[in-house]
Symmetry: C2
DNA sequence: ATTGCACACGTTATAGCATAACGCAATTGA
DNA sequence: TCAATTGCGTTATGCTATAACGTGTGCAAT
């Protein structure tokens, strides 16, 4: 799927996420955009919904937050399962893909005749800097 | 870690989860325990906190819900990373472990000098019955 | 026995995350 | 022109989780 031209609100939300140091909650995004006219959570959630659909933003389920995709240009959806390592101290997020992990998980679901729709892999811990 | 004797509230919460067909939210558990004197969310969350610590209950991050561990008796914490397949139609949860997946993920974090604390793997989709 | 501590518990209030439901305006394409 | 779609704004509401305070009980050190 190709990414269509972003609307004004979508661009604003995406820019905030891209410039952020780490993952942001929807309400944090809202606060950062009040000067641009944002007043209600739905303005953020509606933009996020589209950005997630386009694959340019990811949702971190374990911390109820959102990050810009680390692979601008490419279509992240086509790389298989996306995995994240999230530093609980500084908020650093590392995004990666591992085809062998994908393969193992998909082999398992095939064995169960389970039909996967969306897979979450999130490793919370401490990044190299924070663990030192 | 061995599981200590559960307190009254912990037992009530655990029993509700064990008898449930699928994962339950904290507030659903609360509702099911009103007849037993539960009045406030904290009574549930405090019990869940301990049950999670003992490893007899798991939290499904992607759906803000809780399930009893599928491996009664054993200590689930010692089996490495726990993975879940969650049917979005009927709520069925399948819990499994895959050492090869663990190995790949841990190899990756080692390469990044990332120190993992807690890893989430959750596959949402449709179970065999619901997909048919 | 008294003191001090740890722990479970109860209650009220509050914080944080997400969506429902309504209406309006601009766009598009029959 | 008309209908359908999409984005947007607003208000209200619902769901998820924790803060802060106080109570009572059991148990160990003094
Ligand atoms: Zn990505
Ligand atoms: Zn860090
Ligand atoms: Zn388990
Ligand atoms: Zn099902």
């Amino acid at each position: 799927m190709t990414t269509p031209q972003l609307t004004k609100n979508q661009s604003l939300v995406f820019d905030v996420l891209e410039k952020a140091e780490g993952p942001l909650s929807a309400y944090t995004i809202l606060d950062k955009l009040r000067d641009h006219g944002f007043r209600a959570p739905l303005q953020v959630y509606r933009a996020l919904e589209k950005l997630l659909e386009y694959g340019v933003v990811h949702r971190l389920e374990s911390i109820n937050s959102f990050v810009a995709c680390a692979h601008p240009g490419e279509n992240c959806h086509s790389h298989g399962i996306v995995a994240f390592a999230i530093c609980e101290s500084c908020g650093l997020v590392m995004e990666f893909h591992d085809h062998e992990v994908d393969h193992r998980l998909m082999a398992w679901v095939r064995g169960q005749k389970f039909k996967p729709e969306k897979t979450t892999i999130e490793i919370r811990g401490l990044c190299e800097t924070c663990a030192a």
